[in-house]
Symmetry: C2
Subunit: 421 residues, 2 copies
């Protein structure tokens, strides 16, 4: 086929993003469209119309995801799935998640206009509630699609007492059938997701496109530094066990250990509590949480292990007690080399690109359960996301859609059927 | 006179401390006796009886302080004042403040038993509400005695809506007469206060007594470190402006600057807020308060100035903004050399002693307005105070009373009259 046939229309993409930006809760800052709200339902009605016009058969699955399907020339093959989400955080922006759904819609329109038929069925998915939710769970819809939304999760309540199960059913889900309908490994030929980078790397390196090498695993630890809450006036410097001063030295050590591996890992101390937090009392206890993210689980483990040894030495030297607890550990999702090659080929046909890992989680984390995944990033202005200022140029977004389309076509052309996915 | 005549009675001192420890709010932890409570009034009734039995003429002044007076052989001289306070912090101990009042009572008893008469009048004072109060003010009674309790302070309310003026009047004060009755410079020949150290120095150096060289001034500053609240997963280490990591480096610099002057200064970062304080967001802002305490105002200024220069360099290097604001600056109170010599003479006649500054404020800060002050410290076990575990051995307390008595006698014998105080 002629690739020019799938040349995305920037104005149409902009128009779709702007249409969705019209369905927002104006009582909240930014472009807020929380799941299970009036604005979310309005946006889905609009999406349903658009998908239908683009020739897709639209349905809502048991987990309440909105799915538009185009048959393949060999409809017995598992589908190529393209998707993301349209819910936002409170005070969020117009691009995070949204451009991944708009990409799917645009590709469906291009296929419709060109008359070109894929061998695989194609599914465009708007996954329900990807962002952190009031139920304490994120990637709710993609979890449900792949059987990772447990009964216990379905019974979680939001602060108003709404049960997640009822929330999903209220927007067309059928949670009682969810487990039976859940997709299994092999049920997707390929999952592709276009997403904003949410970081500064593409912008700072001057690239329009990023071929995602994988989604990092996250290791979280909670640490308690115990000192003595002495009087700030009467305790000489040399006779203190100052938990906050100890934290300062330990925090710098953590930063140094995390910075020693270039782009291969990041580490953050994001949360901290200082006790008793009074201006005239030497801090007696500091509790903090740190996280390490990397595509390489062994590297994350090693960074933490070296840090922990040094932190204990610092604590001992200062007469402090160091207590540690691992809070969670998620595994990285790696993009398979053959899929990464296709994604890079798709990118290369459109614009200069670099490889980079995804430091944030996505619906792709869940979809990796049932098939290979590929992701493409487009630049975030100033590296910002989850805020009203979140911005990606429409030209860059269009380049991303073109790269996703090219990767899809390459996969559909290359792969012989269900056997090699 | 024979000094043996003023040999304090350890059992009587212990008995008085224990008696006061009986007037406590048992619904609260430790030995809690907050001012303006039932237990405070009970303890003052008991103290009034004891003072009266010891031959003192007891009254309550306009600021509600309880005062027992013994005439001098030259009753035209300004009085020697011995005092402290019997209120405690919530969850406090049995010694802080209390032993200073008990010291005065014991000295009155010793004078009564010996028949020895001082040239100066002697006043034993239980100052009202020395500890931080619900009205946001401390050293309330001693402020009132010396004219440092403003009308604005008198109108302060506690969380229950009680006005300070009414609280003082409810325990016998006459706040409408307070300003007129306030004492003026020269109205005290000498103020002596026995107090627990509230720090670890006497215990760690093995001394029973400390001759206080002065009460430190306190400089407080608030500092804001502004960074960028980026995504903790997607922002590479080298592209961050992490306010908390910057705080770590700046906090260590502060500790180093404060530790460079031996016992001449202490500095503490006691309060800190980290924003947004979420585990997956690079900290975008840290707000903290620091204080520097020293007898030497120029040293405190210099420590802050050198720290501030280095902190700005650290912030610049890290792409952070450093904002600073001085919150308060209190002047140190220095013990006059002649008084310090008397106090040291008094200590030397009893037990080995060292000189040390007071890192905490006391009623002596206020009394310094109207005359020379002297203070003696006795050891605090483990350096602790303002907690149920607060403890000073009765033998040490008795040594402190003996040293105060000796200093008082030396002053009364040495000083020729009102001209040289």
């Amino acid at each position: 086929m002629d690739k020019a046939q799938l040349k995305p229309d920037e104005r149409r993409i902009q128009s779709a993003v702007e249409a969705l930006a019209g369905f927002v809760d104006e009582s909240k800052p930014g472009w807020t469209r929380r799941p299970f709200t009036r604005w979310y339902e309005e946006s889905r009605r609009w999406l349903t119309e658009q998908m239908t016009e683009a020739g897709l058969a639209v349905r809502i699955d048991a987990a309440s995801n909105l799915i538009g399907r185009l048959p393949g020339t060999d409809d017995t093959l598992p589908p190529i799935v393209i998707g993301s989400h349209t819910d936002t955080v409170t005070g969020g922006g117009r691009f995070d998640g949204i451009i991944g759904v708009v990409a799917g819609l645009e590709i469906a329109r291009l296929l419709q206009e060109s008359g070109y038929r894929l061998r695989h069925p194609l599914e465009i998915v708007d996954f329900t509630a990807e962002e952190p939710s009031e139920f304490g769970i994120s990637t709710i819809g993609s979890r449900g699609m792949v059987g990772n939304l447990s009964e216990a999760m379905l019974e979680q309540k939001d602060p108003n007492g709404l049960v997640l199960r009822e929330a999903l059913d209220s927007i067309g889900g059928r949670t009682s059938e969810m487990a039976a309908e859940a997709r299994k490994p092999g049920d997707a030929a390929l999952y592709l997701e276009l997403h904003i980078e949410q970081g500064p790397v593409l912008e700072q390196t001057g690239h329009k496109l990023g071929a995602v090498t994988g989604i990092v695993g996250i290791h979280r630890h909670r640490i308690i530094i115990e000192g003595a809450p002495n009087h700030a006036g009467t305790t000489p410097m040399g006779l203190r066990a100052d938990a906050l001063a100890g934290f300062c030295e330990i925090g710098l050590a953590f930063e140094r250990h995390c910075s020693a591996h270039g782009r291969d890992a990041v580490g953050t101390i994001g949360r901290l509590a200082n006790e008793p937090n009074a201006s005239n009392v030497v801090p007696g206890r500091v509790i903090f949480e740190l996280e390490i993210r990397s595509l390489d689980t062994e590297l994350s483990d090693a960074i933490y292990a070296f840090f922990s040894v040094e932190a204990r030495e610092i604590a001992d030297k200062r007469g402090l007690v160091f207590l540690e607890e691992q809070l969670s550990k998620s595994n990285p999702v790696l993009v398979q080399p053959e899929v990464l090659a296709l994604v890079e080929k798709g990118c290369a046909s459109v614009a200069p690109f670099i490889r980079l890992p995804s430091g944030a989680g996505h619906d792709a984390n869940q979809m990796a359960v049932i098939g290979p995944i590929g992701m493409i990033f487009v630049p975030s202005r100033d590296g910002r996301s989850h805020c009203p200022e979140e911005w990606t140029d429409y030209g860059d977004t269009t380049a991303g859609v073109a790269a996703i389309a090219a990767a899809m076509l390459a996969f559909d052309g290359d792969s012989g059927g269900s056997g090699d996915e």
